[in-house]
């Protein structure tokens, strides 16, 4: 085990007041059971699980209630034993505020586990077995992004990984969940990391941690002892050192290509909480049912970290932390730099809810109004991705989104460091989100237009083809008709005295004339009938009928 200073600095970044001590005064607290657990069937990117239980079913703790098939997905489990009381749409913990399909469980208070076993010799088990266990356990990245861990570990065959980076940075202020986890359960974290290292056949585990977590570093050192494959790399406390690409650069010097992932440089990044979840799944057989969530802010009088069952409503969590609900002006999920707000507290904790900040106006005052940009350039100095935030602002304002894209707007991690330092209080990140949204819309419309164009072109071609075919047939018919005419003319020549006076009439004209005459006759006969019923004078009509009859006979004989 080596304790070292991280070899590379964070590029850009800001030093923030960390507000960590408020929630680290007490050990991890347990929560009483909420009256209802609302478990969303989709808690991250990927496919929504399909409920495999029905209303009224009794479920045990750890029983699977949502099944998945797609690659990027995790199954969902019941966080405690109880009865399914509803499966429907509820507001979920997501910045979009859209509703999601959730399974609602009413706990029976028994907390009865479903049958489960762990593996004993897990560091020698077949890797496929371990992978299956992790997938089945429903583990997703618990640092906040929530990518399904089983899918992340299913690397393509030829992606070599030599370093597992354990991300213990927790660089956002206020959040202390990972810190407390390491202080109290360092063994779970280390064992989980070792399992992942074994699965990826990596050489090293590097734990990246900021220097404001001295107790956690000690706890980790106690567990690691002399293991030569694990290094603790300590970085200065700067935001956003915990962003995966930035962490990898600080700890290994390897720069992840913008269009790639950390595995492209041989590094697998894993959050400490996810590592602990892997341990529990493999060694104890427990699926992911709970997580440690920090509850802090001046709106709660007893800020602390809690072990929270997935599906616990945030209101319940806040009550346990003795929240003063009238004081809370902003409810933030995550940290103050990248966290999103919730409009109400009747939303449930999910696998990625690492922190709830019950903020009052004293915590975060309403933002001052935006002033014009004075081109001071501070935003560019702090950008961890070395973008030009000023240029991106101009492009977003003037709606030149393609220029923004050229200036690598897609690489922006929306960390908020630029907006934090702006002396004119310009909400830069909001401009970038707007620009990204417009670009995405433009791209979708371009794709739709392309499809429409292809269809239009093919249709045009098809119609042109049909026209050409018709034309060809017409030509053929005309040629045939001309030939027939010729033959008829030749016949007439051969039988010269027959019909010299009569004009050469072709059969078609004759048929038409015959048909016309027949229909005229029929009409006349109808008129006669009508006149007869009304007792009118019918002599004129009878004369007409005679004439028409004679015509029809003539034409018929002409035809035949």
């Amino acid at each position: 085990m080596t304790l070292q200073k991280a070899p590379y600095p964070l590029i850009g970044g800001v030093h923030l007041p960390d507000h960590k001590h408020e929630s680290t005064q007490k050990p991890i607290q347990t929560l009483t059971l909420a009256p209802r657990l609302i478990i969303p069937l989709l808690q991250h990117i990927g496919e929504e699980a399909k409920p495999i239980v029905a209303m009224g079913d009794h479920v045990l703790k750890g029983q699977k209630i949502g099944e998945v098939r797609a690659f990027v997905s995790t199954p969902v489990h019941a966080s405690t034993s109880g009865t399914i009381v509803d499966i429907g749409l509820y507001p979920v913990d997501h910045p979009s505020q859209l509703h999601g399909l959730c399974v609602v469980i009413e706990p029976d208070g028994l907390d009865e586990w479903a049958a489960h076993t762990g593996l004993d010799d897990y560091l020698n088990a077949p890797i496929s077995t371990l992978l299956a266990i992790i997938k089945e356990a429903g583990i997703a990245g618990m640092g906040g992004a929530g990518f399904p861990t089983g899918s992340k570990l299913s690397l393509k065959e030829h992606t070599p990984v030599d370093i597992v980076v354990l991300n213990a940075m927790e660089c956002e202020p206020y959040i202390t969940a990972d810190d407390m986890l390491m202080r109290e359960r360092a063994n779970e974290v280390i064992e989980g990391a070792k399992i992942v290292q074994y699965m990826l056949q990596a050489q090293q585990i590097i734990i990246g941690i900021e220097d404001n977590k001295a107790q956690a570093i000690n706890a980790l050192q106690q567990i690691i002892k002399d293991d030569s494959q694990i290094i603790i790399s300590v970085t200065p406390t700067r935001y956003p050192s915990g962003a995966a690409r930035q962490t990898v650069y600080m700890l290994t010097g390897r720069e992840v290509p913008a269009s790639g992932r950390t595995t492209d440089v041989g590094v697998f990044c894993l959050n400490v909480a996810t590592a602990a979840a892997v341990y529990r799944a493999v060694v104890l057989g427990e699926p992911l049912l709970s997580r440690i969530t920090t509850v802090t802010g001046l709106g709660v009088s007893q800020a602390a970290n809690f072990e929270v069952l997935i599906g616990t409503p945030i209101k319940h969590l806040l009550s346990q932390a003795k929240a003063q609900f009238e004081q809370i002006s902003r409810l933030i999920i995550g940290g103050p730099m990248m966290g999103y707000t919730l409009p109400h507290a009747d939303i449930a904790v999910i696998k990625t809810t690492n922190c709830v900040i019950a903020a009052t106006n004293k915590d975060f005052a309403p933002p001052p109004p935006e002033m014009p940009c004075i081109r001071c350039g501070d935003c560019a100095v702090v950008c961890p991705v070395v973008l030009l935030p000023q240029q991106l602002l101009w492009f977003a304002k003037s709606k030149e989104f393609d220029k923004a894209k050229q200036h690598n707007l897609d690489d922006c991690i929306e960390c908020g460091a630029c907006a934090y330092v702006c002396p004119s209080n310009i909400p830069l990140v909001q401009y970038y989100r707007y620009a990204k949204g417009e670009l995405a819309t433009q791209q979708q419309e371009a794709e739709k237009a392309e499809i429409a164009r292809v269809r239009f072109e093919s249709r045009k071609e098809r119609l042109a083809q049909e026209e050409a075919d018709k034309e060809a047939k017409r030509q053929a018919r005309q040629i045939a008709a001309a030939k027939a005419k010729e033959d008829a003319a030749k016949q007439l020549e051969l039988a010269p005295q027959q019909n010299t006076a009569a004009p050469a009439i072709d059969s078609k004209t004759l048929m038409i004339a015959a048909a016309t005459a027949r229909s005229n006759l029929k009409k006349a006969q109808k008129r006669l009938l009508a006149a007869q019923t009304t007792q009118e004078d019918t002599t004129a009509i009878e004369q007409e009928i005679e004439q028409l009859q004679a015509e029809v006979t003539k034409l018929q004989t002409g035809l035949s």
Partner: protein, 347 residues
Amino acid sequence: MMLSTLSSPHTHPPKNTGQVMRQVCYALCPALLALTWIFGLGSLINAIWCVFLAVTLESLCLKLRNKPIKFYLKDGSAIVTGLLLGLSITPLAPWWLAVIGLIFAIPIAKHLYGGLGQNPFNPAMIAYALLLISFPVEMTRWPTQFITPEHIMQSFSSSWPSMGIDKLTGATPLDLFKTSAQQHIINNNTWLNGYLDNKWLMINTAFALGGIYLLAKKIITWHIPVAFLSSLALLSTAFFMFDEARYASPVLHLLTGATMMGAFFIATDPVTAPSANQGRLVYGAMIGALIYVIRTWGGYPDAVAFAVLLMNLAAPLIDTLLQPRTFGHDIKPITWRGKNELTHGHY
């Protein structure tokens, strides 16, 4: 609970543009004191008059543009422009000089381009250059000694009798050097020679002190002042070593005229300078070089205003040409442990 649904980031330090400008005003106080101590109340009167005019003109322009006056005045940029112009022009300037200058600086050079943050040229320097070219006599009437308040009032109200000038005003050190150089008078030109005037030395030191205060408070970064002064020092040293008689010593260049003011207060104006630090190094260096060129071979004794304005023209180009490499793009590949091609970044 009434919850607001604002988007991240939720926290912000209290620093804002108004505070930045206020710090700049504080940093100009040593220089104002020095000028008043040395030359009399002239600079103080100019400063007050210019600030008053600047704020008035700014309010007028904001009103015409239908913007909330109080909100935009709080950013303090008009005050700084007024103060800078007030300190740049001679203490013996008549009142109408400031009026003409500021009418050009604030409505024309700033608001016509879109207001704060949109002007391509430094407003104070544009005003100074305009006045220098249009009214060379009034603008070059620098005092050589302390001027009494009565004389100040006379010059301010533009009723200075033309006879009384010669005793009290004279050429500045740069003026003197330029004239004698033009007349090919070979002087005993040492590093610290007679051309160096204690008064100007003190004034420049006062500006430099203010500049160091701004650096300490992180209002400006070191890039522009250091590049500016280094390039000026380098060029002047090179030429001085080459021919001591004909070229002014680097000490003279650095410590007279508007050098220190330009280095710390004029060139560092964020709106008109390149926005990235690597661009600022080039910008500062070019300003220093241009100042030397114009002072030595150009038509004017002091060149800070012209050099800054010329480089303001180039600032957008510098920004475009010196864009840094984005993290994760165009990475130089190296083979790692001979096994696979993994990459490592370079900065």
